[in-house]
């Protein structure tokens, strides 16, 4: 009996096993393939995010007792003038640095798109600031904007103007920090604009030229509208960078209390305020609340962005 059934059974058993395996393979393996990202994101993204939220619901000094306080930290934060000051500075510095940066980057891209001498050299040249270490850039700029022996004050002196204490005032510190940001990112954005410009069909320009459109007119009526998706992309990356602005203002006025961003806190950004609460005041609960507020801020800005994307794609 067993002699007869023995060879049959495994064959029968293998068939459903194999088909089940193949079904699993079809259904399951895509998940297995994408799982490394989600596992890593879970460990390094989602868990810290949620744990930070948990911490933010406590009074959580680094040393000493942790006590659950509910939403107290958030309530306090909403009434915290230092927090809103940091939020204002972050958005202000973003605008002050990004607007001139885009104008300059577009101009650079248009120039590099023309037939100029040593074009490749210049194209490579504009991204060099971007690959320089941000700390090094900031240190050099801090020297340029030094009060006593800085290059900026020396140049100002040619025009008979008084030397400026660059770190002391809001306007001067914002100007200096924006220049550091723009120094790094203008070339990068210019290169992205350039790539997008080269994708624009030359027929459009030829047709416009035949119709008698000037170069300026071509720029406004062809180049800029065709660049819209690219502009949106660079805007999003700039916002992400802008909200995280940290190293430039931190190293601009180094030394004791640098994390406060100037004597009037005139260039303390949100990330600096986060670090100040965590690592100067050692209040991790409050710092966690700041972190979540930054998260919410980015969320809101991103939503506005999505709306803009929809409108633009609708317009096309």
């Amino acid at each position: 009996m067993s002699d007869i059934t023995a060879p049959v059974t495994p064959a029968r058993a293998r068939s459903p096993w194999r088909s089940r395996l193949s079904r699993w393979d079809q259904k399951g393996s895509p998940y297995a393939f994408v799982s490394p990202f989600f596992i890593l994101f879970g460990i390094f993204g989602a868990f810290p995010l949620l744990y930070t939220f948990w911490v933010s619901l406590h009074s959580w000094p680094l040393l000493g007792e942790h006590t659950f306080t509910g939403l107290d930290n958030y309530q306090k934060l909403l009434q915290d003038p230092q927090f809103w000051n940091a939020a204002k500075n972050t958005l202000g510095l973003f605008l002050v640095s990004t607007v001139p940066q885009y104008v300059l980057a577009l101009w650079l891209a248009v120039t590099l798109n023309r037939k100029i001498m040593a074009r490749t050299l210049f194209r490579v040249g504009v991204v060099i600031p971007n690959i320089t270490s941000v700390a090094a850039v900031t240190l050099i700029f801090s020297m340029i904007f030094a009060k006593g022996f800085g290059l900026a004050n020396w140049i100002i002196g040619w025009f008979g103007l008084e030397a400026v204490d660059w770190t002391a005032h809001t306007w001067s510190s914002w100007l200096a920090i924006s220049m550091m940001v723009d120094w790094r990112w203008t070339g990068y954005n210019a290169l992205i604009f350039l790539a997008a410009m080269q994708a624009i069909s030359s027929e459009l320009y030829e047709a416009a030229a035949i119709d008698g459109a000037t170069r300026t007119r071509q720029f406004w009526s062809i180049t800029l509208p065709m660049l819209r998706p690219t502009l949106l992309f660079t805007t999003i990356t700039s916002i992400i960078g802008g909200v995280q602005l940290f190293t430039e203002p931190l190293l601009f006025a180094p030394g004791a209390g640098a994390i406060q961003g100037g004597t009037l806190r005139q260039f303390q950004t949100l990330t600096m305020y986060l670090i100040e609460n965590g690592f100067t005041r050692f209040e991790f609960g409050y710092a966690g609340a700041v972190a979540w507020m930054i998260f919410l801020l980015v969320l809101i800005i991103s939503l506005i962005n999505i709306l803009l994307v929809r409108r633009i794609s609708g317009a096309d």
Binding site: F149, G255, A256, G257, R281
Partner: protein, 438 residues
Amino acid sequence: MSPSMRGTRRMIAVAAVAGVALSMAACGSDDEGGSGSNEKITLKVSTFGTFGYDALYKKYEASHPNIKIVESNEGDLGKYTTALTQRIAAGSGAGDVVAIEEGAIVNFLKAPDKFVNLQDEGFNEIKGNWLDWKNAQATTADGKTTIGFGTDVGGLAMCYRTDLFKAAGLPTDREEVSKLWPTWDDYIATGKKFQAGTKGDAKFVDSATNTYNSILMQEAGEAPGYTYFDRDNNLVFDSNPAVRSSWDTTAKVLDAGLSANLKSFTAEWSAAIKNGGFATLACPAWMTANIKGDGGDAGAGKWDIATVPGGSGSWGGSFLGVPTQGKHQKAAVELAKFLSSPEGQLSAFDEAGNLPSSPKDFDNPALKDFKNEYFSDAPVADIFVEGAKNLKPVYLGAKNQAVRDAIENDLRSVEQGQRTSEEGWQNAIKSAKAAAGV
């Protein structure tokens, strides 16, 4: 060690000390008692800056063959303190013996259970090895727990440029200069004379904050014995008369136009030391190394050291503590005792120039007769000891560093002319509250 160790450039000789591998898992058991046990154990000593313990380690290993010492040195004080705080909070990763700077120890006193109470380890029998105020800094407000043995103290004196003084028509001899300023008001009067007599752009003092902190520690020492926090850790920033009067005296320095408005340890400050941008600088013992480093050969012999107005003071200095997370606490306590003993401190002075905190060393000729060539052969140790010896203990609250950072910033805003002294003070009250979390 000192706040000056923050700058990366200042990590002199760190490489020499830090040339040690990671501490290996020790193979000893928990019941070792110094040299009594024959099992080999490894003790990890965590430090920053330069403690000057190399010779002491060798000596200790020779007399304790079962013990191997590795030092892990982090160089930068700010980073070191943050990392140490995290490791202490996490319950693992700190050394068997850890260095704690005086600005940080107040924070650790908030969690005294994380450190071995040295009063249980014979501290009371040997507490005469240290200055009273030094011991007070490492002891909880109730006096029952002590978490650190003192290593060095900063002391405080006034470093000054003899060439600038001479050009401004002031005396240059250190005895005579000391007589110019028994009080801070005299110091300001001298500053006005200097400013009237000087020909270049030089200012009398580097910045407001060093002056302010020196005055505050003196005033608070007289009464009430604390600064921003009372002994129950209530914020008393705006009600402590010592704070207000220190602020006002500093405002007088600023009103007289004596400050060069340079934040300490920045590049511009260093450049001003080299170029003669200011004539005086409140000066703990370790600051002499900074001046020498920044001033270079051109500055040799141009500096001298006088006593500080008000007669006493100290800035900087450290402790050795033993975290309770360590595996070999008894052995670690023994090692810490050895390193911080009067003999140990003298050896560290020899090696790194750190001023001892032990009054037993103060009369030792090795210290007393030491002359600093760079500073016109000033008997440095003797001058600094004078400053440190008479200091009265001042209680600093757990959040002292955060409050100090915040209100120094407000003081700088006055110095920069962004606010009047009164506006700065009003804002400092708000900043102090925010930093203290009230």
